[in-house]
């Protein structure tokens, strides 16, 4: 990735936000007019435990350069253990994708509670920087090969 293209590459990032904490946190960041990169497309889910690992893989296949799953801090989950399951599930998925050669920066997870608007801004900036550093996702993207 030459220096010139690296800066003007705008990644698509898909974020699965849990409705009770992270979505509210992101909403708070918005209402308090926090400025942060606009590369993220948010999908609201009822809990981070609802996110199916195939969502992550399909998102990377359909053109996302990075995926973020964000949920409540351990202990705050509205459904008691949704985020615990998600933590175990996505730890394995992230290691496995790294093992296949997919840069770990492409798939991040975060705990953002409803009051952490500021933390949401930092999380987004770090995720966008990370994905910009590794460039566009082409490894197993659907590219209409020999259509």
């Amino acid at each position: 990735m030459t220096e010139a293209t690296q800066t003007d590459f705008q990644p698509n990032i898909v974020a699965f936000l849990c409705n009770w904490c992270s979505y509210a946190g992101a909403d708070l960041a918005g209402t308090s007019r926090t400025q942060y990169p606009s590369n993220v497309r948010v999908i609201r889910v009822m809990c981070s435990g609802r996110v199916n690992p195939m969502f992550v893989v399909n998102a990377l296949q359909e053109g996302a350069d990075g995926v973020l799953v964000s949920g409540c801090h351990p202990g705050d989950c509205h459904y008691m253990q949704g985020n615990y399951y998600a933590r175990r599930r996505f730890k394995l998925m992230r290691n496995f994708l790294e093992y296949l050669g997919i840069e770990p920066e492409r798939f991040r997870m975060s705990w953002v509670s409803a009051s952490e608007g500021a933390k949401w801004k930092e999380v987004i900036e770090e995720v966008v920087e990370g994905v910009k550093a590794v460039g566009p996702m082409n490894k197993f993207k659907r590219r209409q090969l020999n259509w």
């Binding site: 399909n58 615990y84 730890k91 050669g101 993207k141 090969l145 020999n146």
Partner: protein, 327 residues
């Protein structure tokens, strides 16, 4: 080694029982040194049963692979037991299936075979390409003895041994109703050297390695059909609404297929090695499964197929699970 007459006597006694429907064992193959699964329904057929280092199949897969026809009105479903011969690694598949409530313990009758290691049939085929057979393989001391067309050939055990046996920690079945031989102590341990070697490579090298393998995949799904843990009756691969994985064969769909297959086995695969053995284009599928197996053991010190009452890995948690990767 298991004495053949004792094996057949035990089998005859089991299949003659009222409450046993069929017995799944091994019999000689049709060419070279191969062995293959045998389905015995009545005592007269036990004389084909054998157990030699050529018996590589994991017979536990047939219990969940059975396609049950709808029972016509007025008839009772046949609930008699299924007897199955299992080696050490195969028995862990039974345990994991029962841990996931695929069936109850009293549905099966387990004939345990302490195993001293099976051969890698590709290596045998490469070394004896034009032997029509039927050829027999036996193990004597640390040598494999191959008998065919009246000739007897000895080969050091290391040269023909299957890779999974080089790291076998459970040679003696962990669940059995009948044990056909004395127990065999674990003779190897697993240092995950092949997985670590690949982990150490750079991202692009890893992707180039897997891209070459996955581009060969023809999606014949034999790795799914042979696996004792792949028994969902509505597999993700066959769903249409939504269609997670498309049927077209290219690097994108093949990669997602292999990610989905391996990930569905996280904390469930018991390393019987069948998927890699049956793959016609020789994709190293065990290297995928063993990466997840190693992570699961290191991160959550969980080992599938050892305890029947162990809670499934991904529907249990501990408060102090590692979260170093979480922002």
């Amino acid at each position: 080694m298991v004495d053949r007459n004792k094996l057949r006597e035990t089998a005859k006694e089991i299949i003659s029982r009222e409450d046993v429907r069929e017995l799944i064992g091994y019999r000689a193959g049709t060419y070279g040194f191969r062995a293959r699964p045998a389905f015995v329904y009545d005592p007269g057929e036990v004389d084909q049963l054998i157990f030699t280092p050529a018996c590589v199949n994991n017979l536990a897969t047939y219990i969940t692979l059975e396609e049950k026809l709808p029972v016509p009105r007025g008839q009772e479903p046949d609930l008699r037991k299924v007897a199955v011969m299992v080696k050490g690694c195969d028995s862990r598949a039974l345990i994991q299936q029962m841990a996931e409530n695929a069936y109850d313990r009293d549905r099966i009758l387990v004939i345990g075979i302490p195993c001293t290691g099976v051969v890698d049939m590709d290596k045998v085929q490469a070394r004896f390409p034009d032997v029509l057979g039927p050829g027999e393989i036996a193990q004597e001391g640390d040598k494999f003895v191959l008998i065919y067309d009246g000739r007897r050939e000895e080969v050091p055990r290391e040269e023909l041994l299957a890779d999974k046996c080089r790291r076998c920690r459970y040679p003696t079945p962990l669940v059995y109703d009948v044990l056909l031989d004395e127990e065999v102590a674990p003779f190897a341990s697993d240092d995950y050297s092949d997985v670590e070697a690949l982990e150490a490579r750079s991202q692009d090298e890893k992707w180039a390695y897997w891209e070459e393998k996955f581009s060969r995949c023809i999606r014949c799904y034999s790795c799914r059909n042979v696996c004792p843990m792949c028994y969902c009756n509505d597999c993700i691969l066959d769903r249409l609404r939504p269609q997670w994985i498309r049927r077209s064969v290219d690097i994108s769909e093949n990669t997602v297929f292999h990610v989905a297959r391996a990930y569905h086995l996280a904390g469930r695969c018991i390393q019987c090695g069948e998927c890699q053995r049956v793959c016609p284009v020789e994709i190293p599928l065990m290297e995928l499964n063993r990466k997840l197996y190693k992570d699961v053991e290191e991160l959550y010190d969980f080992e599938p197929g050892v305890k029947v009452d162990a809670p499934p890995l991904l529907s249990s948690y501990r408060p102090d699970d590692p979260e170093d990767f979480i922002l």
